[in-house]
C-alpha cells in the first residue's frame, strides 16, 4: 500500500467513539439528498449526570476535529482546546459531560467524501452531496438522540464552530440552555468566501487532485492543499502577531541569498504549516467544509431578518470576539448581539482585547477564559447545576 492510500484510514482505526445513524430516517440534507446510514465519530469527556443536564457540545472549526483534549491520532499534538478542558478547568470534566463530534463531511471518522460510496464501491470524492452548517447540526442532533440527551447545558465553539452554535440556537432553541458563539458571525462574508475560493482553486488545480478521485489513483494533492492552508493560515493571524513572531527575520542565514528558498522566517513557518496540514487533512473534505461555511447565512434563512432566527428564544447567549480578528471582526459579533437585543434575548457580549488575530480563541488568553468561565458559572447556577466542588 503506498503512503497516500495508507492515509485513507477506515473510521474504526480512529480512537474514540463512532456511531452509525440511520438509515431510518435518513438525514435530509439541504441540497435535497437523503443521506443514510451515516457515521458520526465523536469524543466525550467527563460523565453525564443522572438528570442528563450537564452535557456540553463543543463544535470544532474548519480544520479542527473531535480530539478537543486528546493527543491527535495523526500528529500526536495535544488536543486543540486541551488548555481549557480537564478537571478544574474552564470546561470542567468533573462537572460537565463534554461531547465533540467530527463534522459531517469531515475526514476524522464521520461520513465524508473520503468514504466509500456504497453505490459504487469507490470513494465518494466529488459525488458526495454538498453539505451545509445546518446539515452538520442536524447530524449532531441525531447523535444527541442516540446518546439520550434531550437538552444541552451549553453548545459552544469558535469560528465555524460558532456557526454551528448559532445554527443550534436557531434550529433547536428548546434543546439548548446556553450558547457561546466565539469569533464567529451570522453569515460568511464576501471576503471570507473569497479566501475560501483561493484555497479551493489551489486544490482543484493540483494535477494530483485527479478530479477528486486521487485515492483511486494512488495520489494526493499535497501541493494544492498545502497552499490552501498557507493562505488560510495568514487569515487566522494578525499583522501584529506575525510581526511579533517573525518580523523580517531571515531563516537560518545571515543575509539575503537572492533566490526563492524560504528566505524569511515567516515563509518557512507557512511552508511548515502547509506541509504538516496535508498529513492530517483530506483535500476533498476541505472543499466540502469550506463550501458549507460559504453557504452559511442565518438571516437569509429566516426571511432576511437575523432577529427572526431568535424570536422568543429561551437560550442564554454569550457572544465573544477578539479585537484583532479580521477574519471574523467584532462588528460581525455585534450584529449578532443587536439581533438578540431586538428579541430581548438574554445575552452577554465581550470583545476580548488581543493582538493574536482569529486564532486567539485557541490560545492562552486569560480574559477570554475568565469570560467563558464566568458565563458558564452563571449559566450553571441558573440551570441548577452544582457549584464547583459541590458535586
Amino acid at each position: 500500500m503506498n503512503e497516500s492510500l495508507r492515509a485513507h484510514r477506515p473510521a474504526a482505526s480512529m480512537p474514540g467513539h463512532v456511531v452509525e445513524l440511520g438509515p431510518e430516517p435518513p438525514l435530509r440534507l439541504d441540497c435535497g439528498v437523503d443521506l443514510g446510514p451515516f457515521r458520526i465519530a465523536y469524543q466525550t469527556y467527563g460523565r453525564l449526570n443522572d438528570e442528563r443536564s450537564n452535557a456540553i457540545l463543543v463544535c470544532h472549526a474548519l480544520t479542527g476535529d473531535q480530539y478537543v483534549a486528546d493527543p491527535h491520532p495523526v500528529t500526536g499534538k495535544p488536543g486543540w482546546w486541551s488548555e481549557i478542558v480537564g478537571p478544574g478547568r474552564v470546561l470542567d470534566t468533573e462537572r460537565y459531560f463534554l461531547i465533540c463530534a467530527n463534522v459531517l463531511g469531515g475526514c476524522m471518522g464521520s461520513t465524508g467524501p473520503v468514504d466509500i460510496d456504497p453505490a459504487t464501491g469507490r470513494p465518494w470524492g466529488l459525488s458526495f452531496p454538498v453539505i451545509t452548517i445546518g446539515d452538520m447540526v442536524r447530524a449532531q442532533a441525531r447523535l444527541l438522540d442516540h446518546l439520550g440527551i434531550e437538552q444541552l447545558f451549553c453548545v459552544l465553539g469558535g469560528s465555524m464552530g460558532g456557526f454551528q452554535v448559532l445554527e443550534w440556537a436557531a434550529s433547536y432553541p428548546e434543546r439548548v440552555f446556553s450558547a457561546v458563539p466565539i469569533a464567529a458571525a451570522a453569515r460568511h462574508s464576501a471576503q471570507n468566501i473569497a479566501f475560501n475560493e483561493v484555497g479551493r482553486q489551489a486544490i482543484l488545480n493540483d494535477p494530483d487532485w485527479c478530479g477528486g478521485q486521487y485515492w483511486a489513483e494512488g495520489k494526493k494533492p499535497h501541493r494544492g492543499l498545502a497552499v490552501a492552508r498557507m493562505a488560510a493560515h495568514i487569515t487566522y493571524l494578525s499583522e501584529a502577531a506575525l510581526h511579533r513572531k517573525f518580523g523580517r527575520n531571515l531563516q537560518d542565514r545571515p543575509t539575503f541569498t537572492y533566490g526563492f528558498d524560504a528566505e524569511f522566517q515567516v515563509e518557512s513557518y507557512l511552508r511548515h504549516q502547509g506541509s504538516t496540514f496535508v498529513d492530517r487533512f483530506d483535500a476533498n473534505s476541505y472543499l466540502y467544509i469550506t463550501r458549507a461555511m460559504d453557504y452559511f447565512d442565518l438571516a437569509t434563512a429566516h426571511g432576511g431578518v437575523l432577529a427572526n432566527a431568535f424570536k422568543g428564544t429561551p437560550v442564554r447567549f454569550c457572544v465573544i470576539s477578539f479585537s484583532s480578528d479580521w477574519l471574523f471582526p467584532t462588528q460581525e459579533s455585534r450584529a449578532i448581539v443587536h439581533a438578540l437585543n431586538a428579541v430581548a434575548a438574554n445575552v452577554s457580549f465581550v470583545e476580548v482585547v488581543s493582538d493574536k488575530g482569529h486564532d486567539a480563541f485557541l490560545l492562552d488568553e486569560p480574559e477570554f477564559h475568565a469570560t467563558l468561565n464566568g458565563f458558564l458559572e452563571g449559566a450553571a447556577e441558573h440551570r441548577g447545576l452544582p457549584r464547583r466542588g459541590e458535586q
Partner: protein, 212 residues
Amino acid sequence: MSRPRRVNGHSIRVDLKWIAEMIEADSRVLDVGCGDGMLLDYLYHTRNVDGRGIELSMAGVSNAVSHGLSVIQGDADTDLKDYPTGAFDYVILSQTLQAMREPRRVLDHMLRIGRRGVVSFPNFGHWTIRVGLALRGRMPVTRTLANHWYDTPNIHLCTIKDFVALCDELGITIEKGLSLDGEGRLQAFDGRGALANLLGAQALFLLSRPGR
C-alpha cells in the same frame, strides 16, 4: 476563578441601594451603563431580578460577564434602539444620563423599552457648586463630580429643576423623587422641589409615561 465576589450583595454603594428600593422583586431590568454590574448582582441576589446590562467600558463588561452577569459591551446612545418596546419592567440609568450624547433620546428609548425608568444623576444645582462657581469662578470638583472639566465623561450636566422641566416637556410622569447627600444618604425633603435642588448632591427619580 469562582463566582461571585458579592454573593449576598450586602456591600453596595448607598445610592445603588436606594435604586434597588424602587425595583419590584422578580422583575426584568435593563441597567444602562452598568459598570462592573454591581447593581445587577445585588438585584439578582436580593430581589431575584432578571437583569441585563449595557456598558461602554471593556473592563467593566469583562468583569461583569466573568462574574456570571448578562452584560453586553455597547453604547447606549446607539444601541438602545435595537431593543423591542416593553421588553423590560425597569430601565435604569444610574449616574449615566449626563454622559449621554443625546439624553432626550435616551430618555425616550428608556420609557419605550421599559414600563418604568429609574434615573440618578449628580445635581448641578447643589449649593456648593453654585457658591463655588460664583465665588471661585472655577468648574466644580466635588465628591459626586470628581473629574476636572477636561477629563470628565459628563457632557450634559443638569440641575434637578432642569430635569423636572424636561420631564414635563416630554410628558414623563415622575412617580417618585429622592434627594441624596454626597454620601448617598436619603434627605428628608421632596426630591423634586427647590430644597432638593439646593441641598441634594444627587437626585434619584422613578419615571413612567402615561399610556404605557
